[in-house]
Amino acid sequence: MKTYKLMKEDFPQFLSLLQEKGNLYGPVKSKNHYSFEKIDDLSKLTFDYTRTLMGLKKFVTPPKYKVKHFDKSGSEDVIPEDETNIVIGAHPCDIHAMKILDKLFLGQIKDPYYKKRRENLVIVGHSCLPDENCLCTSTGTDMVSDGFDLFLTELQDFYLVWVGSSKGLFIIMSSEDLFNDKIEMCDIAEYTSWQENRQNSFKTTIPFHLMPDIVHLIYEEDELWDQFGEKCLSCGTCSLVCPTCNCFNVEDKILIHADEVVRERMLDSCTLPYYSVVAGDHDFRPDRTKRLKLYYTHKLKEYIGKWGQPACVGCGRCVTYCPVGINVKTVSNAFYEAIQCVREVKKI
């Protein structure tokens, strides 16, 4: 991976450069959370933050968007225009989440709406330091080596800029005087000691690597799940904030003033009551426990089995936002504790 140095005093110029290339988005503080917003005033940007309310998914599968338009002349897909949207400030877990969404939407059958939005997006990652809700060392998503266009590691006087794609490289090449590809030994030393310090500042771990088996084996132990099912409010917040939750609903809207119809997709959640109802009002997941089972099977055991990985990137959003404390941390810990048994097991 090509790596450059960008001096901190040149950072504003780098931001202006990005603004020239496309619409710039970045982390902004609103009342009680951070979110990626369009940046017109650079002073609004802040990089001293842990997590945004929603991750990068809002750029590629927004909470609500049009997919089709119907009128007298027929049906037309609403594919977004070509444009460049640059988001700066994404953390490693956000980028990992995007890689999971890419697998889902750009696998064998490509979603044309996602595809265009994804092609329009340039991701400039940014290093971060964890708080007590971050679980990414457990999920193996604390570091990222691809899935971004550029990634900035913020050190004392400079940024280390990692180039992850040709799009990223073009940005660098278009203003070469800002970047220096001579990285001194002392720069490396500063980076590695920053890295060490970061690794040491993680406070929370979960037995994530054991979870696929545990979830499988306790799947039918309903009392274990019920302690969460009974508390769950079916509010859907966990899905709204989880950067890998992508489920959507589809609805038609008739535009009264004209003979027109738009078909819209909106984020949905498997924790909501009607998620699995089929004809004849048969509900495959009639209670909250059954619905949480689906959510946590996907987060902790297998998202879609053939990918061989669960879909939690340890971002801690569910930990921060579930109003009743149901999250990957409490769920995995409860399951893990439940299997602690007094019988002595010989180590083989």
């Binding site: 997919v67 089709k68 119907f70 027929g74 049906s75 897909d77 889902l104 939407f105 696998g107 064998q108 059958i109 490509k110 979603d111 044309p112 709406y113 996602y114 799947y219 039918e220 992508n246 489920c247 959507f248 609903n249 589809v250 609805e251 038609d252 008739i254 119809v261 078909r263 949905d268 498997c270 998620y275 699995s276 109802v277 089929v278 004809a279 004849g280 048969h282 495959f284 997941r285 059954k290 689906l294 099977t297 996907h298 055991k301 297998e302 998202y303 879609i304 089995g305 053939k306």
Partner: protein
């Protein structure tokens, strides 16, 4: 219709189709025959497998999945059997001959008819389950010489409730496929076939199926599966050769919306046809 969805630039592209025929099958279920409007699309009408489904769309109402009930061996049109249960189907039932709907598909894995060649096949359906299995039946009639013994066991609550009753009575008469029909109750007193639940038909085929070289294809209401599977296991069917087609809520049909997920699979991509091993592996399947 293009069955290889991976080749499409836009797998959500839908195509206008005209209702060329329809009739009531029962008091709440209707038969529809459709033909695509654009000749380039119509040319590919037969590009699907029995057991696959299509997404219907009516602008302003929405989309809903329906099993294809016709056979790809008769590629001039598509047929469906649709029960009126809610908003989409209400709107569809208002449509008449010559009206149009949008269709995209085909979706789902469908039945692998090739792998069953040379084998015995037992088809068991109940209620609305006859819709997807009718596709298999017609396919088998057209390619009968490629298969060994074929049995069809179909049940309905009453003669009035039997979908495709005329078709199946004709099938019984044609004797290309050994057809056994049953009803739970016969209030009319005019029913000339079996009375009793669908599992009572198993005695008609007992000892006549080569269990080591046989497939069973099942579709029906959730309660039916358990009893039918019990009979098949008694006959020592191999678990991987017991195939069933299932229903889930579906919003996209191609692995994007998440609604049809069961554990780590999507019913719309990995199903709707599953085998009995899958069922034992995945608790929530039925």
């Amino acid at each position: 219709m293009i069955s290889d969805r991976t080749k499409l630039e836009n797998p959500y592209e839908d195509h206008l189709a005209t209702i060329i025929d329809y009739r009531d099958l029962t008091s709440d279920t209707r038969y529809y025959k459709l033909k695509f409007v654009e000749p380039e699309v119509q040319e590919h009408t037969g590009d699907y497998k029995p057991g696959q489904f299509a997404m219907f769309s009516i602008p302003g109402v929405g989309e809903a999945p329906f099993s294809i009930s016709s056979t790809p061996t008769r590629p001039a049109f598509l047929e469906f059997g649709i029960r009126k249960v809610g908003s989409f189907t209400d709107a569809l039932f208002k449509k008449k001959e010559g009206d149009t709907v949008y269709i995209r598909g085909p979706y789902g894995n469908g039945f692998d008819m090739k792998s069953m060649e040379g084998k015995d096949i037992v088809i068991v359906s109940g209620g609305l389950g006859a819709v997807p299995l009718r596709s298999v039946l017609l396919y088998l009639e057209d390619k009968r010489e490629l298969y060994n013994n074929v049995f069809f066991l179909n049940g309905a609550r009453t003669p009035e409730d039997m979908l495709f009753k005329e078709d199946f009575l004709a099938m019984h008469a044609r004797e290309i496929i050994e057809t056994h029909l049953t009803v739970d109750k016969d209030p009319t007193g005019e029913w000339k076939h079996n009375v009793g639940v669908v599992t009572t038909l198993f005695e008609k085929i007992n000892g006549r199926v080569d269990k080591d070289n046989a497939y069973a294809l099942i579709c029906g209401p959730p309660v039916m599966y358990k009893f039918v599977i019990k009979e098949l296991l008694k006959m020592e069917f191999s678990k991987k050769n017991i195939l069933m087609t299932l229903e889930r809520r579906m919003k996209c049909g191609q692995g994007h919306c998440g609604h049809c997920a069961i554990h780590g699979v999507y019913t719309c991509l990995d199903g709707p046809v599953f085998n009995y091993w899958d069922y034992e592996r995945m608790v929530e399947l039925i």
